[in-house]
Symmetry: D2
Subunit: 307 residues, 4 copies
């Protein structure tokens, strides 16, 4: 992997699924093929591992370590950057994973807000983030903002306030929310070498126009090439083309949502579209009936050509 | 006013405040000057009256009739279009106002979802909207979508499904929400002579890139010329300039929100910036302390030149 | 009706449905039989009219006046008290209805919080309530607290603070919420001649043990005699018997909720159980399929003997 | 400890705080004195450890093991029952802790719903609970229901449906919610050797009248003797006395809530009232200013005599 400290993270980043065996144990052997698939079929050059899509909160700390290690090892020479999500409900666990990420040569770490006990103020959350970053002070640090999942309604912009003093390794935000005033204020405030990455795939174009540096999401696992096309159309000023692609992504995801789109369905859809064997999700996420994934895959194929 | 049936509503639309006397009665005499101010100072050519900004739900039906009539009368020859919001909790009241709007020559009517009893399905809301439209079948009809206020979480796109069969006078949506997948799906589905207007001013640019035909909002009462500049920069492909203006709007509104920005503050800010005498809001909206409006006005002046 | 000013409102109060014709117009002729049914079959001696169950927010002001007048006229000599709910989104409308209630000899008025514009503080809501009460200063005044419907999360106890200074005619609270700390604090703070009435029928027993003076609810339209039995069992210290009845009420309502229990279903169930012709609900509440009401009625009959 | 399998858990159960050193490490040495305090000063005979009050989600699995072990060891011969909460976001971690609880001689285990990934149906949650119970099949199993914290709005009653077939070791519910219809339906459905324990301390009396077998809560750490008095007054049929105590508890907790009552304040209040050294909370819960705890302690002393 490239020396991340000098490398601004941009473009498309796939939030990876965690491969499981059919018995529900983590399946490290599928990581190599997964990386090849992302690079070769989807044109994706950076990954965000052990995040929400990766079911990190359903993993033990030991499993997260093993997975992170394998992702970093197999990505070497293939991916530009591997960002390891180390957020946990417990500060202790996050710190352990942050230290570990530094040892295994991750390009950066990301931390979500704890959500069982919710920080009551921006200051509480900032202090939590600081405590994690401080055990891996040389690793680029990203704040992972996803209020609809955490229920923590603190503005991302309030986390950023003078954050370089608190977290000198700060490098950006993965912003998975629909409040684009907050998002715009983050873009406006950010230093040029930071990255503001957007995480609501179905409205990526809106974030691009607000100044997003890139995108991190689960659908880029199978919509990577199309999302890349959207991004380059936008960069070239071809709004109509970018919008057309975005609308197709929306049509797919609207369709899936009507059928009940959750992480279990998403994972099964990925299995179907990629040919990889990522297995079922882990409880409390339920495995979806194959028919449901097939129905969505059919819709996918009616909208998109193969990458 | 122009013959609206053939005229697609586009561009900037100000959602007007309702002028009150200091005693809290509606003040029709301020409507003429208000229209002149919007046209001359803000470059706004269409208005949306008796909506949320207009405190319609705090008005009696008789007051809404008087106001609508005066808005239409004074706008004649000055404004392109006057859209009268006729949505009420009671279908009966909405129908009365819709009939009245037809009589006074409004260019269109808009209807919000009832929100005390919330429609439980798209079908229930569609039937409600149909019943209102049917008493004024020749008036262009707009659905007013604002889920954060109504608490009605029905997708706008689901309202649009084959809506021309149900409401032949259907002409568009005022979409005041942050779900841009739903918004994009509305744009994608809409007929070309319909208007998809966006109503979250602080992220207007995001809606433009998704294909909005225009915008309806309260801040265009005092940010009209700047929002127009944003829109034309976007149309010319000057994203950076459009973004710069959007960020300044966001900075103003973020600042106001930290101080506690509600309709009472917004109205007082408008009084301060416009020089009009729109009076206090009506209960349960409380009048804001003058100092608060002045502080925000000062911020406004630090960010924007006068229109 | 008895001189309400000296009469504390206690016991069971039915929140009445509004009778409609099959064409959806208000049907005053059914009010007389409805009152006889409540008194003779259900043993209910007081009514709360034009409330949530009465679909007041779906009625015009004129309809509410006509209904209130007929309820008061027909209740004379039969009911102990008729409380007319006069709460509206618009203060003007509420004041008109409050004045009218005084003219027609209502025993009291009740006011809900406006919920389109939500009061931002207890003070804002208190001021609103004060403005309504002040036009009918001799009518006993009740605050109607139902946060799950209004979305106004102001503690009822905060409304009560020194309320006699603000509203000298204050007589009590209809508390339709599940926060029994707030409820208990209301009971604890209330003057002895005030009434604290509970409005979540399925957990009435919990409110009784906390000191409720009575209950107002829609299910007392058809569970009146059983709820009376529950209340007298509780008063006699027969907790086990009271609980047994409460559990049966819960079983009925849980069952109904699983099938989708809303006001439309509730009204149709009432039609089926009472034999009255109260008609369909008004939009946006949808009429329920007869089969659904019949299924619930069957459950009712399996649990309860006829009153 | 008594042989729990035959012992129904009833009465008052303290949800214990986790003792930390001032440096934020777990402090096992304070557990012995804590147990003595609970037994001698508060008259509490059972404890629920590593639950919400115990900040379990902020602990590592290793810390939770160490704590559980020490609680069980020190409680031997002093407490009737020690219930170890083993719920985690990760099924793997929960299973590890359940196995461990069996080894250390816990009297029972309790499991909360995972809340980062929320089970989408009762069936998903039931399957999760089953998977935990199955690794410690001889340990009495309690479902811990606290929807306001988890955001999982599945009825507890739906978890209970035929639960003995799924979890033969099932012994009851810790119900920390305000939906007393659901609570009542649990009581009504439960087998006689199961326990339905209530967890919203400020409305305990409401649960008792609905048939609660006991109570689990954090305030019983310092209100234990008073809550016991409430419970025995209720059992003797002295509702007025029980209500008087409940109202004092409500007055204290209302007062604390106005000041901003969270786990950090609660823990500091406990330090002040008990004289124990339980230390600060762990991030993201912030330590409260001493003055705030002292203010609440003063209120406590104005309402209650020392136990």
């Amino acid at each position: 992997m490239a020396p991340a400290v000098n490398n601004k993270l941009t473009g498309l980043v796939a939030a990876t699924f965690t491969p499981f065996t059919t018995q529900g144990e983590i399946n490290l052997s599928e990581i190599g093929p997964y990386i090849d698939y992302l690079k070769e079929k989807q044109g994706v050059n950076s990954i965000f591992v052990n995040g929400t899509t990766g079911e990190s909160m359903s993993l033990s700390v030991a499993e997260r370590r093993d997975l992170a290690e394998e992702w970093c090892r197999k990505a070497k020479g293939k991916m530009d950057q591997v960002i390891v999500h180390v957020g946990c409900m417990s500060l202790k666990d996050s710190q352990e994973l942050a230290r570990h990420a530094a040892q295994i040569g991750a390009d950066g770490i990301a931390v979500i807000s704890p959500s069982f006990f919710k920080p009551s103020t921006a200051d509480a959350l900032r202090t939590f983030l600081h405590e994690v970053s401080s055990v891996a002070p040389n690793l680029p640090f990203f704040y992972y903002h996803i209020p609809s999942v955490t229920g923590v309604n603190i503005l991302a912009r309030d986390i950023l306030e003078d954050v370089w003093e608190l977290i000198p390794s700060f490098k950006g935000v993965k912003f998975s929310g629909s409040d684009l005033m907050d998002f715009g204020q983050c873009v406006s405030y950010c230093q040029t070498h930071w990255s503001v990455l957007y995480g609501v795939d179905e409205q990526l174009l809106a974030a691009l126009v607000m100044g997003a540096d890139g995108a991190v999401g689960s659908t880029y696992n199978y919509l990577g090439c199309h999302a890349s096309e959207l991004m380059s159309a936008f960069e070239k000023g071809n709004i109509v083309q970018a919008r057309t692609i975005q609308f197709k992504m929306q049509e797919l995801l609207s369709y899936a949502k009507k059928l009940g789109f959750d992480l279990g369905v998403n994972k099964q859809l990925m299995n179907e579209l990629s040919g990889l064997c990522l297995g079922p999700p882990r409880l409390p996420v339920m495995q979806c009936p194959m028919s449901e994934a097939l129905t969505i895959a059919k819709k996918y194929r009616s909208l998109f050509t193969e990458c």
